[in-house]
């Protein structure tokens, strides 16, 4: 399904650059929203290969996979697209009869990377969080808002942000960021 028209439109757009900040659309991922109690979280930890972060608003990365805390019993799992079926099968078999929910949202969302020394400044054009490194350190992730759209914001480096947004909001988010990047010469 990765060849959906909307995805093609988004990913074809080459990197949008400005002085000190650039925006690129990331290739498709396998994405899951996992919700469940402690026992099931343990099973998913074994199936996914990353210990799900229990600390609020923190992400954990291992190799090419990442687990992002979204709520006290809710995590977003990111992995290469080719692992999609394997993760679902593995988690389902390990969790056994435990109640949990693992929803494949791979095609619901698209991802952007905003990077550069001015990335936080550009995000602050539409996001009310304090994005200073002391308040929003590397590895912090959270659902939040960017102007009128809901996003998941994850700081992957001091000057690098991973943005997950629902597909239908993606053109809006991209254009909104582009507008704010114009300040730095696009």
């Amino acid at each position: 399904m990765s060849d959906l028209v909307e995805t093609a439109e988004l990913t074809e757009a080459e990197t949008i650059g400005a002085d000190g900040v650039s925006l690129e659309a990331l290739p498709p991922f396998a994405r899951f929203i996992f919700r469940g109690p402690e026992g099931a979280a343990q099973a998913v930890t074994e199936a996914f290969g990353i210990s799900l972060p229990r600390e609020a608003c923190r992400a954990r990365v291992a190799a090419d996979r990442a687990a992002l805390w979204l709520g006290p019993d809710e995590w977003l799992l990111l992995a290469p697209q080719s692992d999609e079926a394997a993760i679902a099968d593995e988690a389902t078999s390990r969790a056994g009869a435990l109640p949990f929910s693992l929803v494949d949202v791979s095609h619901r969302q698209v991802a952007f990377r905003l990077s550069g020394p001015r990335a936080a400044t550009v995000l602050s054009g539409g996001n009310p969080l304090d994005l200073d490194l002391s308040a929003f350190p590397v590895g912090m992730c959270t659902r939040t808002v960017l102007a009128k759209a809901e996003i998941v914001l994850w700081r992957t480096g001091p000057d690098s942000f991973h943005i997950e947004v629902w597909r239908s909001f993606a053109p809006y988010v991209r254009d909104f960021l582009r507008e704010h990047m114009r300040e730095f010469g696009n």
């Binding site: 609020a56 608003c57 009310p128 969080l129 939040t144």
Partner: protein, 92 residues
């Protein structure tokens, strides 16, 4: 902008939250046994407090969890927030 202390995520901007009405309203165990008047009271009648009010909020654009808050309706000062299911704390 108000900063609202989510019990799970810490202080966050009010844009991420939605109001959820008065807190600590238990649905009657057996609605069929209630008169129309009592049922209407459960459905529609809410306190209109001047002062400290216990209310539900949802961190909808964050951890998405409901929680409760004590807020002074005259000053809009947030006294405390606590998780759903916990008893109402003494007003600070």
């Amino acid at each position: 902008m108000l900063l609202i202390p989510c019990p799970f995520c810490g202080p966050r901007p009010e844009l991420e939250f939605r109001y959820g009405g008065q807190a600590h309203i238990a649905r009657p165990e057996n609605p069929a046994a209630l008169s129309d008047g009592e049922w209407a009271e459960f459905l529609y009648l809410r306190d209109n407090v001047r002062g400290v009010h216990a209310e539900r909020w949802r961190h909808i654009h964050g951890c998405a969890r409901f929680f409760n808050m004590l807020r002074d309706t005259t000053t809009d000062r947030i006294l405390t927030t606590y998780k759903t299911g916990e008893p109402r704390p003494e007003a600070v």
